[in-house]
Symmetry: D3
Subunit: 239 residues, 6 copies
């Protein structure tokens, strides 16, 4: 329960910081490869999401495997969906293939029913209109009409995957917003979240300074004088 509360606190904090802030914090720790190429918000204005990664993995289609019979296989996307716990973010390795939709409206509707927070892929989805109607937030590389088996074979879930050039392990933290989707390695979630919250506050103050006409030198990066002014501001605001 204590753990659950802590996780809920982390998720709430992460929904309040931009992916841009998170990548800055991760870069300062030496992690440059955390933003997933090709995963854009399907619907404009999707709110920011945060959750633990539940991974799906595809390999290329081979005609003896990737056909309608695959839909009944014990290693199907259907089986994977029924294994998804509530609150996860599903990260799908489609190897960047964009001419076959990994999932369509029916499977997205079921994921929404199961409490999945969001779907993220370096591939595409199909039934775009229907998917949007399910209300499941999706980050993907566009739409395609063709079913997954036209180009992809599903091979498993909860394995390490690559998504958009980034390694994602089951249980890593995922945050996605208008700038795309970012992974925070599980071991670093606490410290990254704390530092990102700090950074977010600081940069909001810097932006306000710029907006009132302050020049960049000495402000950003901050000189000692600027840091002092910021410290004063924080005290005033009771932060």
């Amino acid at each position: 329960m204590h753990e659950t509360d802590k996780e809920a606190g982390l998720l709430q904090a992460l929904r309040g910081v931009t992916t841009a802030s998170l990548t800055t914090v991760l870069l300062k720790k030496g992690l440059r490869t955390v933003w997933m190429r090709g995963a854009s918000a399907l619907s404009p204005g999707q709110p920011r999401v945060a959750g633990r990664a539940f991974t799906l993995r595809f390999v290329p289609a081979r005609e003896d495997l990737a056909n309608p019979a695959a839909w009944s296989s014990p290693t199907s996307t259907r089986a994977a969906i029924e294994a998804m716990p509530s609150g996860v973010i599903v990260v799908t390795d489609a190897m960047g293939i964009t001419d076959a939709g990994i999932l369509g409206d029916i499977l997205c509707a079921r994921m929404k029913q199961r409490g999945v927070t969001a779907l993220i892929t370096d591939g595409v989805v199909r039934d775009g209109a229907g998917v949007r109607e399910t209300g499941l937030p999706v980050w993907c590389n566009g739409l395609a009409a063709s079913p997954a088996v036209a180009s992809l074979s599903f091979v498993g879930w909860q394995e390490p995957v690559g998504c958009g050039g980034v390694a994602v392990f089951p249980g890593d933290m995922i945050v996605a917003d208008g700038d795309g989707a970012v992974v925070i390695p599980a071991a670093l979630v606490d410290e990254v979240t704390a530092e990102a919250v700090e950074l977010e506050t600081f940069e909001a103050w810097v932006l306000a300074e710029v907006t009132r006409g302050v020049a960049l030198p000495g402000l950003y990066p901050a000189s000692a004088e600027t840091l002092a002014r910021y410290a004063a501001y924080r005290r005033e605001q009771g932060l």
Copy 2:
């Protein structure tokens, strides 16, 4: 006339099924390569279109051919447009070149005047704002300011072409919606249309089942029990 009525019925039916359903039906017949890469709806919310393919073909620009003099050539896009019958969907092979617009507002306006149903290309158009104003629905790979001759030479119409990695022959059926554009080979139009209408009805029922909380196993793909429930539903609905 009878033929015309049949064709009108096919077009009406096809405007009622998604390209996603069509690709599923085509895949079951062994056709995986029917969805055109790079052809996205230019304007959000464009309604679904269906029509017979009228093809245009470009090769790369060579400076002795691709220049303003080409606009008066007997093999110009202008001449092709004047040969377009009403109701066709113009499928243009731009070899995926995206830095020169195959057509702009004036030519699109003329196509609209001639009753062309839609324009589809793996390339781009120019005068994007003007093209939208013509009301001609366009599926393309974005916009570019440059004229076609900056990168392309027009070489003919009503020839077999490739568009977005798909072979298209004059007279093939084309359907396009928010998920993109799909070809149905001319010889398969009747059976594919019939099966897609069936599939559409079934999947709508499945989606409703999922939305009321039914799990995927046994539902999709359907078990014998599910199929029996669906048959009952059809009887109830008089389908």
Copy 3:
């Protein structure tokens, strides 16, 4: 001052012609490579902009250079921004790299404060929501959360650059609208502007002709008879 008036007149004229017309005029002079690949309007409906190019140049990131320390370097994007005069269009060579944002909301806010007209790049920006709020018009190749230093090292400003496959020199004229961004070489600005204004007027008349049902042959390209009709129209309109 006289110079300033002339420049203001040019800019006003250029804000009235499409980039499509400009590329047609430039092509007639033998310039095919003037439209920048990958630079699309960040916000739909951004008005057309015109201004002189102020260039920024990046090279790929090397981990000993591209790190937070770079933000304080004398060769930083911060220093470049403080050197930007009012009215310029900032053209940034990001080598087409799309997985790290060249700039975010704070730096865009400062550019807006300094009177920069627009930002154009073959790369991407970050803090997309924040950048839009600054009101600075941006043409770019999407968004990414990661900071520039994740993939890029900034090396200087006001140098010749490549942007989207096009050579841009400081002081070249830039025009951008819904069809993207175009360069007019500094030496050609006067004549290109004059001819584009002419072309714009003519093509508006042609489009009206097409809309009222005139066929393309003889109209576009124009026959002698068409040119005579157009001349009559111009006289009527007092153009």
Copy 4:
């Protein structure tokens, strides 16, 4: 032992047929996606190899995982190599990444010691000169100096993988020659091998016919008359 003899016979037969013949036979069975893009013979004149697939899988590098510490991990390429039985062909999914060598001379030498038949990857190797000296035949997409961890994280062996756009499962049959590397799904090995041996004999006869001046029509594809002549030839040769 009987099984072993049969396998040895298959391997010997497969070393006598070209990958071109194998892909023709597989295509006739509906399998088009069996040739691995990007896997070329490292040394000219490498003899044809055949063997069962032993798979390695990488995901993209993340800096907290892909570093020298990974070399001692229980999930290292070192551990995978010590698990390789004699006679296998190692198929490595490098996701087509070509700027970091998956393995170098030391690990290839160890694979050679363990009796590995060949290494195939859609990525690259490093220490090219040293790898050639080990005598291990390699099919890859070139060479790179950088170590795997510069761009790749190793995650496991004997899992389904994608290699050059083709699905490969542990135990599938792999054949590679000057035209590249091909997979034969495990369930199809017997029949494909038998048909390929037939096809090879027939096409050698056709080639001899062409070389003595016979035209293609009726010869290839063969008319009934041609098939009769071929049957006669087979009888003469005691085939």
Copy 5:
């Protein structure tokens, strides 16, 4: 006969000038897009070839068309080969697809029998070892085991095509050597050949000058003094 003699003279002259010289001459006439991307000599040391273009055209494979039945179609590569006159260079538009060989050893052997001078494509060939044995010089983008129908549908011959980003029309002149393959538009062959022969002589002299230690300024491009020295050299050599 006179025509034949003239053509033979052109071909002999063109076999004596590099494709590099030809592209320089063509560029001076405003033609930049004449070198075909992706068409490299299959065998090192292939001698330079020259001949008129005979074109082949493919579109992408669609499974109802691209299958073994296509080999007997009246529009097959077999039929095209039987239509090839002696001395032509076959230019094949494979749309840059590199995972299926457009032709193999049997068809190349037949082309050699018919007196075809060379095969050029932006795609690949199969049966690489067998193709080399036929003695037909090939410029291509590598090798693949798969048959054409795995990815390509053949649609015709002697049509305008694109090959490696270049427009080629039947009857254009083609020259290929170690630097690749170049098209000379039919209308420009005489003048381009004459100027290239001149340029070749001049650049050989320049190279000799550089080799004996002359610096570039004034030499290349040539000053008036250099041109005078070259004129003297020509007189001495009786050129």
Copy 6:
């Protein structure tokens, strides 16, 4: 002189270590992005080279700049070559453009005359046969017949550049061999060279161990026992 001796010693040492060893050492220091994509040895068997970077920079061609007149410009490749000191390695940023040769035989001959050690580019060269005859070692991405001005405009030398995805500054150390070309940042040359020499000795010993049958666990990475054996070996060899 002392400096010169030291530099000569560094160069000699670097000619004795592989680029693979150098990238390993650089990675251990956090530098992953040091190997240049697309720069392969033009001639097989080119010996390893080492030298300080002398950079050349191109931007894309614009037809008003990139034409034969450019050859006489003060900012020409000719002028750059006359500024090259003996012993440098010329690193050329061609932005990865591979359809126009940055330089041909005449300019390479002049570079050879001036004592240039090697030419490295992410682009291509032309006059391949002639370039090989000059004896200048070249690492490039293939050959093309077209002159640089067909696709590129030369803009300067001795500036920071990107080459194959790597930042290179004038004076950085470059080493190239059969695995490609690597940059060592100027500030790190001494320590990287020393450590690479050490690593090279150790890995040669490891390879010998593997060749005599030692398994990888405990050997590579080395256990304490292995390190002790290696230390003994070093003592025996007097290293």
